[in-house]
């Protein structure tokens, strides 16, 4: 079973950079969109609320595969720009998970006790100061565990980029299938190990961020039993 590992392993390894780029790019876009649309959902302006609601429900209500195909095949016809597959992938990962992230951020902001708002108003802070200096530092602590799940969900979704020919881990493994028909078990095993390692790295980073964020607001983070991530399955 392991005869061809010297050929198979390096080929799959070549896909890791693209998976990492897609994951990191997707996460960056997710964070921006999640915060922007959560603030939109909580805004007093009905226009901002409406736009954010349409974005969040639109992306949560449709399949990620449809979104990918739409952005890769349909959008270029509409706007006349061709996207390279990796860019289209990052865009879809960010847009899709940003919509789920928006509800995480909104929930966390709303979970900050009312008295914190009132205290900030009593101290005569401007609305922007209130958000940045009082509400968000506390809300961030609440949202980090959910973001951990969301980012692992995003990592798993990078395998979809196989559909638009990005040579990430899964695509690299797939390109080996024809010539190493008897080693398919090994190919998928190596892929699974790579995804598992990347998932553990995300979880470790998020745990570290969680400790930093809770220390900043003077809390001790609760320790959780499982070292691996609990993934929420993109609950609607």
């Amino acid at each position: 079973m392991f005869d061809n590992i010297s050929v198979i392993f390096p080929r799959i390894l070549e896909g890791v950079p693209n998976t990492v780029i897609a994951t990191v790019g997707g996460i960056a876009l997710t964070i921006v969109l999640a915060f922007a649309s959560a603030l939109g959902l909580l805004a007093s302006s009905p226009v901002a609320r409406g736009i954010s609601r349409v974005y969040v429900e639109g992306f949560r209500g449709t399949s990620e595969v449809v979104q990918l195909f739409w952005i890769y095949y349909a959008l270029p016809i509409l706007v006349g720009i061709d996207l390279i597959p990796l860019a289209a992938g990052i865009l879809v990962l960010g847009l899709n998970h940003g919509a789920y992230g928006a509800e995480i951020v909104r929930g966390a902001i709303q979970s900050v006790p009312r008295a914190q708002y009132e205290g900030a108003i009593a101290l005569n802070l401007t609305p922007a100061q209130r958000m940045w200096r009082v509400i968000l530092p506390q809300a961030v602590v609440e949202m980090l565990p959910s973001f951990n799940n969301l980012f692992i969900q995003l990592l798993k979704s990078t395998a979809l980029l196989y559909f638009v020919d990005v040579s990430e881990i899964f695509k690299q493994g797939d390109s080996l299938r024809a010539s190493f028909n008897d080693d398919q078990g090994l190919i998928y095993l190596i892929e699974l190990v790579f995804y598992l390692l990347l998932a553990i790295m995300i979880t470790m980073t998020m745990r570290w961020l969680e400790r930093m964020a809770s220390r900043r607001v003077g809390r001790t983070p609760p320790s959780r039993e499982s070292a691996l991530a609990k993934v929420s399955g993109g609950a609607v």
Partner: protein, 219 residues
């Protein structure tokens, strides 16, 4: 060439509806597998049988932290040939989605079972009910209603993940849309209609689940 062609969009509706029917069949059957298997997993894990428990834990974590697309391929191209059988892509899809989501629903059931006050277990023991009656007569009738909204959420998620099965040749919504688009390279209409098909079902379903959630929370 116009950006949007209404004729093309309308022509795509019948095949997309056929794809939607396939997608719904897989979602319903896959959900049934996930609901039943998840419950069995939760009950077995609660009995904490040494070794079995650790193996199940590792398996559940592995399935939950790796892409579903790989799991579909492993089931289709590795496990089935190794077992000497070749199921249809449809059946493979039902099993792959069912297994994948069973790992999530088992956690849902676990939380629901853990939420039952210990007094219920003690009372059932005091009445010296047999183990099976404790589960079917006391614990599950209380635990399951609380977890229905969470199970509903996973069914909605599953519905949206069925298109992954186009990779092994299931004629679901996106595969049917793609086939309509390739004939003349017009993709805007077909993928927009495919997106609408998902939205049309999953948005009302999500609202229904949110309502259920609120009702369960009030109890």
């Amino acid at each position: 060439m116009d950006v949007w062609d209404w004729d093309k969009a309308f022509a795509a509706i019948p095949p997309i509806l056929e794809g939607l029917l396939v997608t719904l069949q897989i979602t319903v059957l896959g959900s049934l597998v996930a609901y039943v298997l998840g419950l069995i997993l939760a009950i077995v894990r609660r009995s904490r049988i040494p070794v079995v428990d650790q193996i199940l834990w590792a398996l559940i974590e592995l399935i939950r932290s790796t892409p579903l697309l790989i799991q579909i391929f492993v089931l289709f191209y590795v496990i089935q040939p190794a077992m000497g059988l070749q199921l249809s892509p449809f059946a493979t899809g039902v099993i792959a989605l069912g297994l994948h989501y069973a790992c999530y629903t088992s956690e849902v059931y676990r939380a629901g079972i853990d939420a039952i006050p210990p007094g219920q277990w003690e009372a059932a023991t005091a009445l010296s009910l047999p183990r099976s009656r404790v589960w079917t007569g006391v614990i599950l009738p209380q635990a399951i209603p609380r977890v229905v909204p969470a199970l509903g959420n996973y069914t909605i998620s599953m519905f949206k993940e069925v298109p992954l099965l186009l990779a092994i040749g299931v004629a679901e919504i996106v595969a049917r849309a793609e086939e309509q688009g390739t004939s003349d390279y017009r993709y805007v209409e077909v993928y927009t209609m495919a997106g609408l098909a998902f939205l049309l079902l999953s948005f009302p379903a999500a609202i229904l689940v949110r309502r259920l959630e609120r009702r369960v929370a009030q109890k």
